[in-house]
């Protein structure tokens, strides 16, 4: 569905996108993850035909977005990160306006718009002025607007930013529904746990480069990521608590899988990159050294830790 090859974008001397290669299959929900300024919005705007690339190709359903920006606009629906609405325009008129811009007949627009408003839970707001809607409703309306021409690819740039938890939940439900309908969706977000729940594949960007991309479970499996271990431990051989702590730190830092040891108020947090067996061996080792361990658990694999790991590596 989406094929990006060697995509480059320069703003003067600043290289915003550096030879980006990406592939998204039809029906996938692709999560675009990356810190601020990584190049996510630039990539999305190039796909939509809003920005000209310095080099490379973008194919949406076989159509070159750079060579045929007008054609690509019929294939892509875009929800920008920041957008406004018109005063004095009702929800249905708002939908009709954009349907009209895609050259649709009023009857068709009305029919499609009704269905889309239903999908985004705004069916009862048809006669409401758009500027009076809440932020979450406006965001959902914008999703409905982006779908008015039945695009092959829906692009959402930070759709959850600025939304309260309830609105975020509603937006997530809308996107899940779209996913189950087989729509190809590209979504960027900072709220990584939510992306992990929704996305079938992800791409992690850092400084204009795609550090990693693929199906979420494959990435999690392939990447030896740092999943911290939380533990509570005491060294009964030492009367002084400080000395006991130093002893435990020395033991921990001897382990090659541990890169950092942090003491919080009541627990020790270990940056641990080993396998499950290594974690078990560590526990056995500590006990053998007469360290009493009252709590020992490893965090589950999640997108956030993967993201931090990848972007942390890139910075290093």
């Amino acid at each position: 569905m989406l094929e990006i090859k060697g995509l480059t974008k320069k703003y003067g001397k600043f290289l915003a996108l550096d030879n980006l290669n990406l592939h998204v299959d039809r029906g996938e929900i692709f999560g675009f993850v990356g810190p601020n300024g990584a190049g996510k919005t630039t990539t999305m705007r190039i796909i939509c035909g809003l920005l000209r690339a310095t080099g490379g190709t973008v194919l949406v359903d076989g159509v070159n977005a750079i060579a045929n920006p007008q054609e690509i606009k019929r294939k892509v629906g875009y929800v920008p990160d920041f957008f406004g609405v018109y005063d004095n325009l009702k929800v249905m008129e708002y939908m009709e306006f954009y349907g009209d811009m895609y050259g649709m007949d009023k009857e068709d627009v009305d029919e499609v718009a009704e269905g889309l408003l239903e999908l985004v839970n705004l069916a009862d707001k048809k006669e409401t002025f758009v500027d009076t809607l809440s932020r979450g409703m406006k965001q959902r309306l914008c999703v409905a607007r982006a779908l008015i021409h039945n695009p092959d690819l829906l692009i959402l740039d930070e759709p959850n930013s600025g939304l309260d938890p309830r609105a975020r939940f509603e937006m997530k439900e809308v996107l899940k529904n779209l996913g189950s309908m087989g729509k190809t969706i590209m979504i960027s977000s900072h709220i990584l746990p939510e992306l992990a729940e929704m996305c079938t594949s992800i791409g992690i960007m850092e400084r204009g480069r795609l550090m990693l991309s693929g199906r979420v479970e494959d990435i999690m499996h392939q990447t030896r990521i740092s999943r911290p271990i939380h533990m509570r431990a005491y060294a009964p051989d030492f009367a002084d608590a400080r000395e006991g702590r130093d002893y435990i730190v020395t033991l921990l830092m001897e382990q090659p899988e541990i890169s950092r040891v942090n003491f919080t108020e009541d627990e020790i947090l270990l940056s641990f990159t080993g396998e499950e067996e290594d974690a078990a061996r560590l526990l056995k080792y500590l006990i053998s050294k007469n360290v009493l361990v009252s709590n020992f658990y490893r965090e589950k694999e999640n997108l956030e830790s993967l993201f931090l790991e990848i972007t942390g590596r890139a910075k290093a």
Partner: protein, 303 residues
Amino acid sequence: MKKKRRMNPVLKKELVVNSRSIKMSLAIMGVNAFLALIALVAILEAGAGSSNYEYSALVSLFPIIGCLECGMLSLIVPVITSGSISGEREKQTLDIMLTTPMSPFSIAAGKLWSAMVIVMMYMLTSIPILSIAFVLGGMSWWALLGLLGMLLYLGIYVGSIGIFCSSVVKRSISATVLTIIIGVAILMLTSILFAVGMGVLSYLTVVVNNQQATGNPQVFHPGLVPAIMMFNPYSPFFDFMLRSMTNYSVCEMVKDAGNISPLLEIFYNLWIPISIGLNLFIALGFLKLAGKNITVSRKIKRK
């Protein structure tokens, strides 16, 4: 199958939005109240209440109100149009518009037509006041229709500059100021070029006459120099007013200034259509540039 002609979606949307705005109605009311006041003063000046009422004096209402409308339009249109693109940028709605297949030129054209609808509303609502000049003062229907046509042409010209400026600068207020500056610059530039051209030609004529000293002096030939003023958007309006109110015209003025060939006489007699054609072509250029500016991507907001 015959392709169904569609109304420009931007125009359609603007009509809906503007029709719900109280600001527009208030502005139209204000303009007409001002024109009505002028008309009232003219009626009283003509001798209302006295036995010798001068109906013909009411004819003077026509150029006064015509010029006033022209002046007000030159100020109102920049205000209306200057927010058309920059306002979309300010409201962050332009990007969404640009993701649709509608061309940036069509977006700019839709904005211009919606501004022209407002201009027409100004004009149509002022007809009753203008009508005083032809009902009581004896002006013709053609003069009235001609004036409305002139105002519409000026609206398109100034509106195109306004939309161009709106596509160049970020803020609507700056676009208004820039539109007025460009308008004044065009007026001044054409006038200065015309004055310099005529000055140089008369100087050369004097020099030739002094050199020859034959007693058969060379007659001044303005040639195509007056045509510079055709690029002045207000010159057709000026010619129209001259023709409506007197038997004089720009062509006669040129003939009075010096000798012109019969071909040039025909050319200058067609001042109004030629000048309007030229200036509308320039207006189209401004609109095309506006379309181009809309597509040029601005630096994206860094989050």
